[in-house]
Subunit: 497 residues, 2 copies
């Protein structure tokens, strides 16, 4: 008797997931534990895992099984139908581009990222511009193939890799609202801030081990389960591993404990999402996190909404004083709150506060659409960046290092990624608003270090839905509306004015 095609697909995707989990642990090790001399062998191990994953899905049997299973989909349970839809999506992403293009892209981005590191150090955009042009060209080629397959536009096809269902048609009006509202809001906030008391800088040094102890204490309060994960150090903080074994990282600045702490809280938000994915769908596409918007919403909900709140600083202040062995007015809840709410017009996206951050993102969104449409030439990027910064933030970089060389994304071929940061911030505000409405005691619980009600609400309304629905469907069910800018703008007004 022939195997049920849907069941065969489940088996195959479980293997696919185990390989990708193995790669995730190896990737974590690479950034945290691996000695430098292991790099070449590690790259080969990971490349072999990639090839095997690709071979698993590019086997012609998979397309046949998908078609058969789709034809008989009505006989499936609802979650299996959703799983089948996600299988199709993963399969498309894995197989849509011819092998030669995948290979050329992989080589071009790898060369471009290496050149970018040097170019950034030397503040010399011309040293990487040709390689970026090549990456852009291959990304466009890839996007066109995918757009044809999905029946959508080029840019939408690229967004789809990071945010299924994310389209320019949905993003543009939301960003238009932000563009209209933010500049005036920022003016008001800066005026109010200048009139208020200055935040005091806590006086370090704060030894890394103590910062780590504080971070782990806060992680535990947020609900992080250390039997299923750990906290380590890396040059660039990230959340890695797999849902049952989550590896988050941070880096410590001994002069300023708040940076690592807020970073740890951010990654913990990602981690709680992964760990909260439904165990019964493990290893299946439907059991994966929804996309970058939902993922970023979970990290920003913890970092920006729950933990930059006056309630959280009331919980944090005595804990920080005790674990860091510090005292004084700089560690008062009021001052920590003031420190966490400083707003400024800066040059660097990753250092930006939540109010100005969307302006950084929208500049990149406009520029990458123009690059892809060939309305902007790579050689003209530094000038366009300068002008864009001047127009939107009112400040402009003196060099390209603090300009168009600051982010790795484009050099790495990640076009269509940037908007997910801001869409995630909006989703965070919208979800948090709904959580507060559902949990009237939320603030006092947080002030007491009790995040259980929040985590339970997120588990039910976001985490356990995994990829069974699209982002906007999850948001609609949880908040009564599709993604919009209003809750975010209301949050800024409430917090800063």
């Amino acid at each position: 008797m022939r195997n049920n095609p849907y069941t065969a697909l489940e088996t195959r995707f479980r293997r696919y997931s185990a390989l990708s989990g193995a790669g995730a642990v190896l990737g974590w090790d690479q950034e945290t534990m691996m000695p430098p001399g292991g790099a070449e062998a590690r790259a080969e191990q990971m490349a072999v895992l990639d090839v095997l994953q690709h071979e698993l899905l590019s086997d012609p049997a998979v397309e046949e099984e998908l078609v058969e299973a789709e034809a008989a989909a009505t006989a499936l349970e609802p979650w299996q139908r959703a799983n089948l839809r996600e299988m199709r999506r993963v399969h498309t992403n894995e197989t849509v581009a011819p092998a030669a293009l995948v290979d050329a892209r992989s080589r071009a981005t790898s060369a471009c990222v290496n050149a970018w590191r040097e170019a950034r150090k030397a503040d010399d955009f011309s040293a990487v511009s040709d390689k970026l042009a090549r990456v852009l060209e291959l990304t466009r080629e890839y996007g066109q193939i995918k757009a044809e397959k999905l029946g959508c536009g080029l840019y939408d096809a690229l967004i789809d890799s990071y945010e299924p269902g994310g389209t320019m048609a949905r993003i543009d009006p939301i960003f238009a609202t932000l563009k209209a509202e933010l500049p005036g809001l920022i003016d008001k906030i800066l005026t109010a801030q200048a009139a208020g008391p200055r935040a005091l800088e806590p006086e370090g040094p704060f030894p890394s081990e103590r910062q780590k102890a504080l971070g782990e204490k806060v992680m535990a309060a947020l609900g992080f389960d250390f039997t299923h994960g750990r906290l380590d150090e890396s040059a660039h903080p990230f959340t890695g591993g797999i849902p049952e074994d989550i590896r988050i990282t941070t880096r410590y600045d001994e002069a300023d404990f708040t940076r690592a702490l807020m970073g740890v809280i951010h990654e913990t938000g990602h981690a709680l999402y992964e760990h909260g994915l439904p165990a019964e769908w493990r290893g299946q596409p439907v059991g994966s996190s929804r996309g970058m918007v939902m993922h970023e919403s979970q990290s920003l909900l913890m970092e920006m909404q729950a933990c930059r709140s006056p309630a959280f600083y009331r919980f944090l202040a005595p804990l920080a004083a005790e674990i860091l062995g510090a005292s004084g007015p700089a560690l008062s809840p009021e001052n920590l709150n003031r420190l966490g709410h400083r707003v400024s017009r800066g040059l660097i996206r990753v250092d930006a506060d939540e109010v100005t951050y969307p302006l950084h993102v929208m500049l990149r969104y406009d520029l990458e659409k123009a690059l892809l449409a060939d309305d902007l030439k790579v050689k003209d990027l530094p000038g366009a960046w300068h002008e864009g910064m001047r127009n939107s933030l009112g400040v402009a970089p003196k060099d390209d290092r603090d300009g168009c060389l600051q982010d790795i994304h484009w050099y790495h071929g990640s076009f269509g990624y940037f908007p997910t940061y801001t869409l995630g911030a909006l989703a965070a505000a919208q979800l948090y608003r709904a959580a507060k409405d559902a949990l009237p005691e939320l603030d006092s619980r947080i002030a007491g270090g009790d995040f259980a009600p929040l985590l339970s609400w997120l588990g039910e309304n976001v985490h356990r839905k995994a990829s069974s629905r699209l982002t906007n469907e999850i948001l609609s069910e949880a908040t009564g509306a599709e993604l919009g800018a209003d809750p975010f703008l209301a949050h800024l007004c409430e917090r800063y004015l």
Copy 2:
């Protein structure tokens, strides 16, 4: 045009090696970093890698390519011919048993190891004896299939998995010499030891971080390259990772720094061998370490020959005093030497000194041969163990926990493994004798902390030969003789009498 079959095999084995390297890093992580909740997912990841490795080699194309390449072997370079021979060996080991037997063995050993852990805790052999009998039965079945394929005896077929070329016909006369000589030698050594000064115990505690610093200092002196490896902690010390990225582990006893240190030196010996394998053969079977005898010879050469020597203790004493922040007569070179050379008739193999260790091994060798030949029933094992200890070491355990439940090997299905420990010790003595003859200044170099000449000699005579020759061929080229007991016995007489 059809691919050259030998070249196709090289490509396939490179992928096989990358998968096994990925598994090695995941295995290291499991013992050192992984939170307990990751166990189930990790087991699945590693099982999938195993299956993929098996699928790579059980593909019928491999047998065809091997046959074709073997028919045209005269056209190959000598190292490629050796590689082809090793490919055949790996292929045989991977494919000789039918899948159902492999699966049954894997499940039976896994159940038996779990039962053994409990039985050992409870000192209740009867709680595991049925499971051990099942493992023994399946191991016999596996050994018989392999013996038929290789045209050898059952026990030789099992040894072959750990030590290619190791046979009872070679081992028996060597062990007969040890059995004849060791008991009298031990009597003499214990008499001499009782007449000499007592070793003083250094007074701790010695904090783990300082022990780690001392271990890393000694590793560096031995030639360990920290850009290609690291030292961590685990419940059971081991050497893991891959040649370019070696992960060694230890565990610290704060009351006694010598245990962890000697353990670190032992693992460093393994690590130097792996790292010294020829880079130009990476990823190919010929480029792997030769087998367990040669591997154990490299760890024991460092630990027992080079680093339990008076010369090494002259180097170690001031270093240990400085790094551990300790002083006094217990840390004098003479006292460290005395501590390192204590001999006693004990019950536990892993705690045994180098003089009595072979008696522990030979007991297990005799018992496992008898079990496999069905001359000894599993239910009679505790009694046979007791009697064997009484006869060979003159001491017998009061319970099975310190008797036949002390080692994991049989419960794990590893029959034929034990002799490699003692053969490794003999090889270490034989190689070290040859190194000393070739390097007349070796002792004074070691006393100065300079291991470069020794490492260079080992590199040329052992490490860079990898699997291009059999153990006895490597020993003959390096020492002028096949493996024997005389250099080891001479070493014991010289050191202890």
